[in-house]
Symmetry: D2
Subunit: 339 residues, 4 copies
Amino acid sequence: MAFRMASSRQFLSDNAARVHPRVWQAMRDADGPDLPYDGDALSKRLDVVFSDLFGRPCAVIWASTGTAANCLALATMVEPHGGVVCHRESHIESDECGAPGFYLHGAKLLLADGSGAKLDVGGIEAVLAGITRGIHQVQAHAVSITQASEYGLAYAPDELVAIGALARAHGLGLHMDGARFANAAAWLGCSAAEAAGPVDALSFGCTKNGAMDAEALLFFDEGKADLARWRRKRAGHLHSKGRFVAAQILALVEHGLWLELAGQANAAAAEIAGGAGGRLLFAPQSNELFVRLTPAERATLRGQGFAFYDWDDGTARFVCSWDTRQEDALALARAIAAI
Amino acid sequence: MAFRMASSRQFLSDNAARVHPRVWQAMRDADGPDLPYDGDALSKRLDVVFSDLFGRPCAVIWASTGTAANCLALATMVEPHGGVVCHRESHIESDECGAPGFYLHGAKLLLADGSGAKLDVGGIEAVLAGITRGIHQVQAHAVSITQASEYGLAYAPDELVAIGALARAHGLGLHMDGARFANAAAWLGCSAAEAAGPVDALSFGCTKNGAMDAEALLFFDEGKADLARWRRKRAGHLHSKGRFVAAQILALVEHGLWLELAGQANAAAAEIAGGAGGRLLFAPQSNELFVRLTPAERATLRGQGFAFYDWDDGTARFVCSWDTRQEDALALARAIAAI
Amino acid sequence: MAFRMASSRQFLSDNAARVHPRVWQAMRDADGPDLPYDGDALSKRLDVVFSDLFGRPCAVIWASTGTAANCLALATMVEPHGGVVCHRESHIESDECGAPGFYLHGAKLLLADGSGAKLDVGGIEAVLAGITRGIHQVQAHAVSITQASEYGLAYAPDELVAIGALARAHGLGLHMDGARFANAAAWLGCSAAEAAGPVDALSFGCTKNGAMDAEALLFFDEGKADLARWRRKRAGHLHSKGRFVAAQILALVEHGLWLELAGQANAAAAEIAGGAGGRLLFAPQSNELFVRLTPAERATLRGQGFAFYDWDDGTARFVCSWDTRQEDALALARAIAAI
Amino acid sequence: MAFRMASSRQFLSDNAARVHPRVWQAMRDADGPDLPYDGDALSKRLDVVFSDLFGRPCAVIWASTGTAANCLALATMVEPHGGVVCHRESHIESDECGAPGFYLHGAKLLLADGSGAKLDVGGIEAVLAGITRGIHQVQAHAVSITQASEYGLAYAPDELVAIGALARAHGLGLHMDGARFANAAAWLGCSAAEAAGPVDALSFGCTKNGAMDAEALLFFDEGKADLARWRRKRAGHLHSKGRFVAAQILALVEHGLWLELAGQANAAAAEIAGGAGGRLLFAPQSNELFVRLTPAERATLRGQGFAFYDWDDGTARFVCSWDTRQEDALALARAIAAI
């Protein structure tokens, strides 16, 4: 790749963003000696902080990647002979190189359809209705949804309630991939609990939102958390200096920084959306947006220094981060409008 | 645990040590935007740096834990129906909660004996000789050794050559768990290449030697490295901001800091050994030592503020780190001598 | 299920058929003492018999179920992090309860479309073209096709050659699920080699064709066969009295009985097809056919004692066996025509 | 192998024995059409027959090999991150080519010692006592014992009660590999229930005792049986013509044939033991015995046409079957005595 990241006009990925200064500071502060693994004081504080934030008791473990968090969560809900209903365009299906198959020991992803990479009751029911062959066919054990979705769309609280009711009615676990949970919550303007809905486990993303390598994995069931702890160790994800992972999460969550940073990223995306107008695939509900642009138009934008990915569906994807400058978003908005 | 880490007299674990200032600096310097995963400039520099250090071409990927590095290495050498000859007291057998079974899809650890948790030709041959039942029994596909061993002992270059020859003769892969490779190399005073010997893959540990969460996994065979890349991603170990992992490794390796820090830790251990004398289980060859102490004697030392673990074999384990102060090591040496 | 199998009018499944008298005799003849597992004389004869039949050297192992044969074959071609391109309606996808995920350690089925549950070059290429995300996405390692397909359609030799060329061009293994290979070969009227085409491994089905519990798994590459032997044992499929499995296969294959029985089943299906006329989903190319019938029409047929399954696509499935009496097939043909 | 099985003097394995005439008859009788898989009338009768035999409700599934039965049983008790305490010389450890690692998705066998390949409370407790490292070490989830043991020794009812109490106290599942359960029960002269003791699952062997390829897997907990059904299908062990497997089991169990045949085999072994006298490793408690013989002595016996295996411990193993002729056992006894 001849790509150069020197430009500030990068809209490729929120993974390309910087680490927030307060996260850096928290990590430095964690650098006294403490007990290894998750025996340190910071790791132990996570339960309380998240139970407060979500208004119900939860057990929290950290992981250093979203893929690990998602798969550890699902491993507590899905037997190796079972399946996970998820969207055909979900991250666990398309972007984790089969990690769910690995962590779940061969369990299957059962692909559902739904607009904007969001599942809905109808889409899930269609998958379940197709399971007709008894012992000969993989049965669903869980549902996994993504908040915000791969197309940057947020599930509204009532949508989550409906999906939760469906999952319960069928005895299925419910997991939320919240790699961009903060962006969804900021856009929804509701409480964290409402933005999560009745999920059993939530991968609460931090890395895309100002952390370096930290995701919080929340369980609203201590038994599942305990199971996940064994699986985390066994997957080589129990960092020996876990205090530094915990520190990142606490820096974002304890005083509301997570929502603030997500709001900044969302605002930048909204700025761009203003310029994209009818070219938008969806009105943005988080920090990413997909714009219909011809190859020539993309070349023009790239010629102006804007960096972004071409998406499978033929659109161009633009992702904003906490550190996207509003002026750069504005410049992009104008550039698109001017095409 | 009522343990308090406030004391500077901690000899519990090199995982409890601090991150070295030059590692911090390198991480901060890595905090401009760059391509995610391992597409960044730092990750790409690893091959050259390590090929230089080892004097032969190697392909290097990073991982954030030693368990992941070990298991990814072995996964390139061992079929799911095969086995790994390793020491009965090795880390992969005793301290990774079955991670090899997970990463290798059920492959088996075939336990060998050997003094000081070191394998030798005789011990390996004894395991191989016990595989007599053809298709009914798990066959060895690889050998894994630990440099320095769980008892802090180093393999001398000629020992490695002998084990390498045996492995080759039997068509077995050879892996080295080098969580404390730096300490072994520093003690041996030989080149990195000699301290590694004819291994196919080396987990080159950094976390215990001044890094935060970084291990380099070296392959002297590009095919194996490529395989490991897929497995790493699938195990959720491809950090999205991998530049920060690479930065840690480069900070330690590019200008020799790794050997310097390991030498400091070894020196502290040597200091303590001076006081322990005949109580030592083994003369130290790295940064850890095991001392015969009665429960009462341990209580005395703990009463003086020294923190350490009781080992399974009935000794007390003391581990020094790059940031162990020589004066604390001396104080411990005197305290042991005075008992 | 209140179903009664007393009726001779069963068209439910070729698995419900009887064991052929010559298979029984061969099993009885195998009942002297011989070496256990596959050390017996019969098991050792398989290579020669099939190499003769296919006109090229092949290494053959037996298995007692088609699911085991398919999955053992694929396990020799697909790494745990890889995928298998197969039809959306294939047996490995829909009817093996995730067995491929188990045997392949989490590898993924990559679903392709194609008329009549047959893959074609375009369908396979479409799947491959959708793999665009490099390390983040599961890559194809093999293609699996079914001869005859789940809709009873046969791949013609030139179709197999085209698929084989595509697989080779992409470095993919090629497996054939031949649960009804005999029926396809009988219909095609070509040699066994032509009906198999350039596959790397073939699950040569016997159980649906007069055997009790026996499938031959053919490899045209000794290395893969050796790998499969380890995996078979490890999957608990190395029967201790394997001579009885081998005997069944030899009884069918050594003197052409396999083709004869398949021909009988095909003839019965053709008889029924004559009566079904325009109601047929496809003109039959083996021993099963799918007929468009309303619920009322099905009830009528069932009222006349005919037993058959309703298929997912809304048709009724009728399967003939070697022991389907031509008079029963004729009666069914007339009954359908008379509706 | 130049071995010829023509001789009636084979004491190699009970797997080399013939199928009993009543088993053959039952299989032939099963050869009308019936529903496939385990939907047939015979498969459905198993629960009642075994519940009667064991005097408590049990749910029974069949499998065609002992390895499959053992591993399916354990898969209902052991999480992938857990372990199974078993004897160092047990079949699951030494003779199943890692099948437990496969079926249990990487779970570990935790090896215990005990005389005559039997576990006892002390041996199990020693293994449990060695699990000291919390999250870093594989925890025991189950215990597996073998009735009769690999050395042909039977667990007395009170020994089973003691092991059961220990398992319960530690929250561990208890599995019995009963490949030679019939021989143990016949020797003990107690009820089937007493010979099984308080196990959660029992692999009730039939193949070594007159069947062709049939093992009954008994669960005294319907939840576990249900789990095993999914795993069986997924392992490719749900034979499509399962009625023939069920028929074999019923032929042996419904009218006491299983005990009768085991008694014959035991009697033959006892005959040989009479001749072996002080050369015996253990007084036989089932149908196999181990005799101290020098290489020259073995050669002498082999020269007289006796076939047997050399065992790892330096003894010669002799196994009797239901069809071992008493005169051949006597001849062997005399030959050994005459050496």
